[in-house]
């Protein structure tokens, strides 16, 4: 197939992938839950930061999680590397879009790794996958929710102590909550901005890999638009679902968002693959326990979809590999 057509196909798929990633972006959920902004304002903000993050940060960020897990000798085995990358990304996008349509946040890293495992097993058998890396990562997958729960639980307890000491009435409360609402808004905007840049690299990487004469700026804008449309079309379901899981106020949204962002930052610096979605959901559970507010039904659905992410992504990548290999 001519290179131009391949680039166009990759471009379309890249936009679909960015749509899928945007659709499962739950970053803005605390803003909705604490009613700092309404859903319309949230979606506008999410779209702006998705495009800005993709455009300004997308180019510099690169991910190579697949390299550590797949143990395939492409040349010796005659495997089409482009088809492998494409299959993993498409299966990830499908899993993300499906879970977003159900309003359930999942880890995009888990979906990607599920796809990688599926293809590794298909193309290299048991030796196609680096199981020790998977084992190392799985420790962190289990640790992510525990860390999120514990840190938020502690922060909420500390915050409540502070409130009992210093907030004496509704007026004090309003003043304090108002301040928190601005802090949460700023933190979430920064998170959305950096996350867009980070997510964008997943979608852009495949196109950059196939051609040299590509207008990167245009590509980043298109990917940013993909992320933005993902958030506005399907992401609203995830945001609403997660935002309403437990009772949130600006101060408690702060207690959820700040530890999540801090732990994610430490994880990124230490190169630990933590899941933002898992951290956020676990933080909401931690908040619910610390402040004795009930959790809405649906937590078990989220946990079930987390467990199903790997097998579904793996099976999907196995099914999709052959037609994609024929096409490319």
């Amino acid at each position: 197939m001519a290179l131009e057509y391949i680039v166009i196909i990759f471009l379309i798929i890249s936009i679909i992938i960015s749509f899928g990633i945007g659709a499962n972006d739950e970053t803005m959920a605390p803003l909705y839950g604490s009613r700092i902004l309404n859903i319309k304002q949230i979606l506008i903000l999410a779209a702006i930061f998705a495009i800005a993050g993709a455009l300004l940060l997308g180019e510099g960020v690169a991910k190579s999680v697949g390299d550590k897990i797949l143990l395939l000798d492409y040349e010796a085995a005659g495997i089409n590397q482009n088809a492998v990358v494409m299959t993993i990304l498409i299966s990830t996008a499908i899993v993300l879009i499906l879970s977003s349509a159900l309003g359930l946040p999942i880890s995009s890293t888990h979906a990607t790794i599920g796809g990688i495992i599926g293809l590794g097993l298909l193309l290299g058998g048991g030796e196609g996958v680096n199981w020790s890396t998977i084992l190392e990562m799985s420790i962190w997958w289990l640790a992510s929710p525990i860390i999120g729960f514990t840190v938020t639980y502690g922060v909420v307890k500390l915050l409540n102590k502070h409130k009992i000491k210093f907030l004496k009435g509704f007026k004090d409360y309003e003043r304090s909550e108002n301040t928190y609402s601005y802090i949460v808004l700023i933190i979430i905007c920064i998170t959305a901005f950096s996350r867009a840049g980070n997510d964008c690299s997943n979608a852009v990487g495949i196109v950059i890999g196939v051609g040299d004469n590509i207008n990167i700026t245009l590509l980043l804008i298109m990917t940013g638009l993909g992320l933005a449309s993902g958030v506005t079309v399907l992401g609203r379901i995830v945001i609403k679902n997660l935002g309403k899981m437990t009772e949130l106020r600006p101060s408690t949204a702060f207690a959820v968002q700040v530890p999540t962002a801090a732990v994610m930052l430490i994880g990124t610096i230490q190169k630990i693959p933590l899941s933002g979605s898992h951290l956020l959901v676990a933080s909401l559970v931690g908040l619910s326990k610390a402040s004795n507010t009930p959790m809405k039904k649906g937590l078990w659905k989220i946990i079930a979809i987390w467990l199903l992410t790997f097998p579904v992504a793996a099976i999907l990548s196995i099914i999709l590999y052959f037609p994609i290999d024929l096409l490319i």
Partner: protein, 214 residues
């Protein structure tokens, strides 16, 4: 920030006026009941209660308009504030209903029950007064408002005791059954005001506990 401050000040002003009117209604009710016990019912006081309730309704509408005007500002207290206002407004409604009933009540109060009736009326006006104070205190002092809710509970207990003593005496009377029935209604309607005041104070107590303060 400016928007929030303006809205807050506007809400404060309307709320103050609303609570002052409620207190005025309670004072008028006390006056009306005192004159009723002395067999010289002052109908102007009853008219005053009805006017007060109407004024409270207008203020309630105004408050609701301002509260929901800009949905973003103060979102975490909007529902709670709205509920407080609606519950206190129901106190006004009950006072107004009682006034209309007393206006058409065609008898004089039995001498045998006047003392207990006085106790019931006193518990009622005190409870309303304490509720208004509690609603003011919750803005600046959770601890004092919390204590106030227990005082209101005490008023309800007093009113309940008085109510059953009154009903006991009334049911033993061998008089015109219509007078006995209507007098028992009079007692029940006053008690309902106190009972609702206590329910409102329970809600306020719940809020104080809900927002970390205890």
């Amino acid at each position: 920030m400016k928007l929030l401050k303006e809205k807050k000040n506007e809400l404060d002003e309307i709320n103050k006026e609303f609570l002052a009117e409620t207190l005025n209604g309670s004072a008028l009710l006390h006056e009306a009941l005192s004159t009723f016990i002395n067999d010289k019912l002052k109908k102007e006081s009853l008219e005053g209660i009805i006017k007060t309730e109407k004024k409270c309704d207008e203020l309630k509408d105004k408050y609701t308009q301002v509260l929901f005007r800009d949905k973003r500002a103060l979102p975490f207290l909007v529902e709670d504030r709205y509920n407080i206002l609606m519950m206190i407004d129901s106190v006004n409604d009950k006072m107004e209903f009682f006034s209309r009933f007393l206006e058409v009540y065609p008898f004089k109060l039995y001498k045998e029950i006047k003392d207990d009736f006085k106790k019931l009326c006193s518990a009622c006006s005190q409870a309303v007064e304490e509720l208004v104070n509690c609603a003011i205190l919750i803005e600046t002092d959770f601890d004092a408002a919390y204590k106030k809710t227990f005082e209101i509970e005490e008023r309800k207990r007093e009113a309940r005791t008085a109510k059953f003593i009154l009903l006991g005496k009334l049911y033993k009377m061998k008089d015109d059954p219509i007078k006995v029935y209507l007098t028992s209604k009079l007692v029940t309607y006053i008690y309902e005001i106190v009972s609702w005041v206590e329910e409102t104070s329970d809600y306020l107590r719940g809020l104080i506990i809900k927002y970390p303060s205890k």
